[in-house]
C-alpha cells in the first residue's frame, strides 16, 4: 500500500502545474449540476481539485476516498467552460482517475464490463443480443410512443428506470441518393456504442444524409468504442486497447473527415485521444493526430459543407412546437451550438423555441447515471421542467446519451413528447422533399 501511495503521488505531481491554476474563486459553483443538487463543496470542481491538491501535499492520505469523491462528477465540462482561470478540470479529473486506477486497480464490475465486454466488439454485440432476449422476460412496456420499458419486478439496480432499449427501424422510406455532389469525397463515420446499440435509427439517418449528398461513406464494421467509459473508470489499459483497434480499422482507407453523431465520441477523438496518446508506446502520436484533426460533429460537418437552403421543412411536423437541448460535450467541450440550431430551424420552418438553460446538463454523464441514479434523475427533472416551460412537444438534441436520459425522465412522467436527434429530423425533412426511393 505504501509504495502504491508513493507511486500515485509521483504521478499526481505531473498534475501540479495544472492544479495550481485553480484560484479557488468558486465561480464553478454557479454551473456544476452535481453541486447544485447537493450544495457540498466536495462535489464542485473547486472542491475536487482541492482534494487532489490535499493528496498531493500529503495532507489527505487515502486515495481511495478521494477517488470516490471524484467519481461524483458528470465530466460535463460545465466548470471548465465557465472557469475564469482556464483550469482544465476535466482533463485533470480524467488523469487523476487513471492514476488512481493504475495503482489501485478498477472495480470488479467495471473490470468485467470494460475489459471483457466493451473492449471486444464481438462479445459486446453478443452480450447485447442476449440482453435483449432476457429483457423481454424482465421488462414490460412503459411508454408506447417513446418506446421505453420498465422492470416488471422491483430490482435494486434498475430502480424505477424507464429504459430505452432499441429504436425500431423507421417506417419512412430510406433516402434515394442525390448526385448533386461529385463522387470521390470520402467521409468516415464513427458510430459510437449508444447509437449502435440503442439508437440505430440515428446511424441510418447519418448514413442516408451523407449518401444523399453524394459522399462515399466509410464505416468499418468492427470499429470499437471510443474509450471514454474505460478512461472515466480509470482503466487506461482498456482505453489503449480500444484506441489501437480503432486506429487499425480506420487506417484501412483514406478519408477526408471522420464524422460522428455522438458528440462525446467526437470530443473523445478530437481532444481526449491526443491528450492521452503520449501515455502509450504501442502506436504513434501522429496517427492519432491525423484522426483527431479530421474529427467533426455531424451538425458542424453538414453546415460547413452543404447548402441546406434547398431543404424544405418536415411538413409532417407542422403542428409541433420544437425546442433544442445542448449536449454538454457538444456545446461546452466542442463549442458547437449554432450549427445544430441552424439544422433544426431549417427543418422546422423556423419554429424553434429556446428553452431556459438549454445548455444545462441533462444529468446522464455515462457511468454517473449508473452510480448515482437518483441524483442523475433529479438533474434530469430540472431539464424536464425547463422543457415544459416552452410548451413544446418535440425535443431535439444532438447526442444519443442525452436522448437515453431524456427518454427515461419523460417516460417516467408519462409526457406527451417526441425526442429526436437533429439528424433524424433532417433526414425526415429530406424525405418530405419527395427524394425518397
Amino acid at each position: 500500500m505504501k509504495s502504491k501511495l508513493l507511486s500515485i503521488l509521483e504521478s499526481l505531481r505531473e498534475l501540479d502545474t495544472q492544479l495550481i491554476q485553480c484560484m479557488r474563486c468558486g465561480m464553478c459553483q454557479a454551473v456544476c449540476p452535481v453541486y447544485q443538487e447537493t450544495g457540498l463543496e466536495t462535489d464542485v470542481a473547486r472542491g475536487k481539485l482541492s482534494l487532489l491538491d490535499g493528496l498531493l501535499r500529503e495532507i489527505l492520505k487515502d486515495p481511495i476516498k478521494v477517488k470516490k469523491r471524484l467519481e461524483r462528477c458528470l465530466l460535463c465540462g460545465s466548470c471548465q467552460a465557465n472557469c475564469p482561470s482556464g483550469v482544465r478540470a476535466v482533463e485533470i479529473f480524467l488523469r487523476a482517475r487513471t492514476i488512481v486506477g493504475l495503482y489501485l486497480g478498477i472495480g470488479p464490475l467495471e473490470r468485467i464490463l470494460l475489459r471483457g465486454v466493451i473492449s471486444n466488439p464481438r462479445i459486446f454485440n453478443g452480450f447485447f443480443k442476449l440482453f435483449k432476449i432476457v429483457s423481454k422476460l424482465l421488462f414490460k412496456e412503459a411508454h408506447p410512443s417513446l418506446g421505453t420499458s420498465c422492470s416488471r419486478i422491483p430490482l435494486p439496480v434498475l430502480k424505477d428506470r424507464h429504459i430505452k432499449f432499441q429504436t425500431k427501424p423507421r417506417e419512412t422510406k430510406r433516402l434515394r441518393f442525390n448526385t448533386t455532389r461529385p463522387k470521390g469525397h470520402t467521409v468516415a463515420v464513427f458510430v459510437g456504442c449508444v447509437i449502435d446499440k440503442i439508437f440505430p435509427t440515428i446511424k441510418d439517418a447519418t448514413l442516408d444524409i451523407l449518401l444523399y449528398y453524394g459522399y462515399d461513406v466509410f464505416i468499418p464494421e468492427t470499429q470499437a468504442c471510443c474509450g471514454i467509459p474505460a478512461l472515466s473508470s480509470g482503466d487506461l489499459k482498456s482505453f489503449e486497447a480500444l484506441l489501437n483497434k480503432n486506429l487499425e480499422v480506420f487506417s484501412e482507407r483514406e478519408f477526408e473527415f471522420i464524422v460522428s453523431s455522438c458528440p462525446t465520441c467526437t470530443w473523445t477523438i478530437k481532444e481526449i485521444w491526443p491528450m492521452f496518446s503520449k501515455n502509450f508506446t504501442s502506436f504513434r502520436d501522429t496517427d492519432i493526430q491525423k484522426l483527431s484533426n479530421r474529427a467533426m460533429d455531424i451538425n458542424q460537418f453538414l453546415i460547413a459543407n452543404l447548402d441546406l437552403n434547398a431543404i424544405p421543412y418536415a411538413r409532417n411536423r407542422e403542428d409541433q412546437i420544437v425546442t433544442y437541448h445542448d449536449p454538454c460535450h457538444l456545446r461546452k467541450s466542442l463549442k458547437i451550438w449554432e450549427e445544430p440550431r441552424k439544422l433544426v430551424r431549417t427543418c422546422t420552418n423556423n419554429r424553434l423555441i429556446e428553452m431556459p438553460f438549454s445548455d444545462m446538463c441533462c444529468g446522464m454523464g455515462g457511468t454517473f447515471n449508473i452510480k448515482y441514479y437518483d441524483m442523475s434523475s433529479s438533474i434530469a427533472k430540472k431539464k424536464r421542467d425547463y422543457f415544459k416551460a416552452t410548451g413544446a412537444n418535440l425535443l431535439t438534441t444532438a447526442c444519443p446519451a442525452c436522448m437515453f436520459q431524456l427518454h427515461d425522465i419523460f417516460s417516467k412522467n408519462g409526457d406527451n413528447i417526441e425526442i429526436l436527434h437533429t439528424i433524424e429530423l433532417l433526414s425526415e425533412a429530406i424525405s418530405c422533399n419527395g427524394s425518397t426511393g
Binding site: I20, M27, G54, G86
Partner: protein
C-alpha cells in the same frame, strides 16, 4: 472532537447534515483568498434557523469557534475556519420569505444566491443594485457580512445601503432583531449598521430585510480609451461635475487592456493607457441626454476612441472587455491576488502610478482595474505562490500598496473585507484606540469569542 459532542450536534441537525469525514473537512479549509488553510473539526448544515441557534448554544457552552460559511468566495480569508473550530453552512437556509412589491422590500434567508435573488426581483420590475463580481455564486448573507460592493457603487451605493433590517443569533443562540420593514426606523441603536460588514464575528445572520428600487427603464453604455490615465480621471471628475451619476464607471489600465486583448483578440487598442466603461441609466430621455453630454466630455478630454452601444448586442460587446478583465489576468500566472485598496476618486491617477512603480520595483506583474466612480481599485498581482523568493516580493508589494492607498487618503479595503489577510494593517489605517474600542465591542457581545475568532481584529 469528542464523540459525545459530535452526537450532540448530530441530534440537532441529523446525521445527513453533519460532516466529519476528513476529505469533506478538507474541502472547507479555504475560501477564495490566498491565505493558509485551516481544516475545521466539523462541518454542520442546519436546515432551519432554530437548528443553527441550538448549534451555536452548544458551541458557546463548549468554547468551540464558529465560522459561518456562505459560498466561500471571500477574498480576505474570513471564511477560512478558525483553528479548532467548526463551520456552519448557510446554503440550506435559502428561502425568499417575502417579496413586497407595494412596500419595496424583500425578506430573505442568508443562503439565497445574490444573482438568483436579483433576477427574481427584476422579473417583477424591481431592482436590487449591489452586484459583486461574484454574484452568480455569492450568498446574500455573505454580502451583508462583508458589506459587499460591486460595479454600481457610485450611484447606488453598496450592500449596507439596502439592509433595512436583520435577524441574527448572538453567541448564546438568542434571536436579535434590528431595523424594520419601514424606510424610517430609529428604534434603538442602529445595530444593522454594526452587523453589516462584521465578517461573521458578531453573530449568525439568519434573516435579512432588503430594500428594493424600481428597475431603471433605460440604460446606455459606452467604452472610451485614453492615452493617459490622467485624462480619464479628469473626465470622471467632469462627468460628476456636470451633475451626472453614471451607474457604472469602470477603469482598466494598460496592462489589463493588453491582457484582455491577448486573450480575446477583440481588437482593443493595446497602446491605450486607460479604458473607461461608462453606463447611465434612468428615464429614457434623461439617459440619452446624459450620454450625449458624457460623450462630449470624453472627446474634449482627448479620448482616443469612443464606442457607444446602440442596442443590447452592442452593449454586451462594450461590456466584454471589462467582464473579461479578471479572467484574462488570471490566466497569465498560477496565483492571483485580487487587492481592493481604495482612494478618493480624484487620486486614481496617483494610485495607478504608485502601483506601476511598485510593480516595477519588485519586478512583479500587476494589472489594475476597478471602479473609477468610487475610487475602488483592484490591483491584481499575478504570481506563483510556489516561488518562495517571488512570494517575498509579493508580500512587500502588498504592504506598499496599502501604504500608498493610506497616504493618498484612502482605505485598506473597499469591499473585500479585512478577514485574516489584512487584520494586521487595521491599526495603521485607524489608530490603537479604534482597535481597542472594536475589541471591547467584540468582547461584550461575544465574551468567549466563538464567532470567527482571529478575523478582522488582530488579537
Amino acid at each position: 472532537m469528542r464523540d459525545s459532542l459530535v452526537k450532540r450536534f448530530e441530534s440537532i441537525v441529523g446525521k445527513g447534515n453533519l460532516f466529519s469525514e476528513r476529505e469533506v473537512l478538507y474541502a472547507y479549509s479555504y475560501d477564495a483568498a490566498v491565505v493558509p488553510q485551516t481544516i475545521p473539526e466539523l462541518v454542520i448544515r442546519p436546515m432551519d434557523p432554530e437548528a443553527a441557534s441550538k448549534v451555536i448554544r452548544v458551541c458557546n457552552e463548549e468554547d468551540i469557534p464558529i465560522t459561518v460559511r456562505g459560498s466561500g468566495t471571500n477574498l480576505s480569508g474570513g471564511a477560512v475556519p478558525s483553528p479548532g473550530g467548526i463551520v456552519i453552512l448557510t446554503n440550506a437556509l435559502n428561502r425568499i420569505l417575502e417579496l413586497n412589491e407595494a412596500d419595496l422590500y424583500a425578506v430573505v434567508e442568508p443562503g439565497v444566491i445574490t444573482a438568483k435573488f436579483a433576477s427574481l426581483v427584476e422579473s417583477k420590475g424591481l431592482f436590487y443594485p449591489p452586484d459583486p463580481g461574484s454574484q452568480s455564486v455569492s450568498t446574500l448573507g455573505g454580502n451583508v457580512a462583508e458589506n459587499a460592493g460591486g460595479l454600481r457603487g457610485l450611484k447606488y451605493g453598496v450592500t449596507k445601503d439596502y439592509v433595512m433590517g436583520l435577524e441574527l443569533f448572538d453567541a448564546e443562540g438568542n434571536p436579535i432583531k434590528t431595523g424594520s420593514r419601514t424606510v424610517k426606523c430609529v428604534t434603538g441603536y442602529n445595530l444593522s449598521g454594526l452587523i453589516t460588514g462584521s465578517e461573521g464575528t458578531l453573530g449568525f445572520i439568519y434573516k435579512i430585510i432588503l430594500k428594493l428600487l424600481p428597475y431603471p427603464r433605460h440604460r446606455k453604455a459606452m467604452v472610451v480609451y485614453y492615452d493617459d490615465v490622467m485624462k480619464a480621471s479628469i473626465t470622471v471628475s467632469e462627468i460628476i461635475g456636470a451633475r451626472i451619476l453614471p451607474c457604472t464607471l469602470e477603469f482598466m489600465d494598460n496592462f489589463t487592456i493588453r491582457a484582455v486583448e491577448a486573450y480575446s483578440k477583440a481588437g482593443l487598442p493595446t497602446d491605450a493607457a486607460a479604458l473607461l466603461l461608462i453606463e447611465v441609466d434612468g428615464h429614457p430621455s434623461q439617459v440619452e441626454e446624459d450620454s450625449l453630454t458624457i460623450e462630449a466630455l470624453c472627446r474634449r478630454n482627448g479620448a482616443l476612441q469612443i464606442k457607444v452601444a446602440g442596442d443590447q448586442r452592442e452593449r454586451d460587446r462594450v461590456w466584454e472587455a471589462r467582464r473579461g478583465a479578471l479572467s484574462a489576468l488570471a490566466k497569465l500566472r498560477p496565483t492571483v491576488i485580487l487587492e481592493d485598496a481604495t482612494v478618493p476618486r480624484s487620486r486614481i491617477p496617483d494610485m495607478v502610478k504608485e502601483v506601476q512603480t511598485i510593480a516595477k520595483r519588485h519586478q512583479l506583474l500587476i494589472g489594475t482595474f476597478g471602479h473609477a466612480g468610487d475610487g475602488n481599485l483592484h490591483p491584481t498581482i499575478l504570481t506563483d505562490k510556489r516561488d518562495r523568493e517571488e512570494w517575498k516580493r509579493v508580500e512587500k508589494a502588498i504592504e506598499e500598496i496599502f501604504e500608498a492607498a493610506l497616504a493618498l487618503g484612502g482605505t485598506l479595503s473597499g469591499e473585500h473585507g479585512i478577514g485574516i489577510a489584512k487584520s494586521k494593517y487595521l491599526e495603521k489605517e485607524t489608530n490603537r484606540y479604534t482597535l481597542l474600542y472594536s475589541q471591547k465591542i467584540k468582547r461584550a457581545l461575544d465574551p468567549k469569542s466563538i464567532f470567527n475568532p482571529g478575523k478582522v481584529l488582530y488579537e
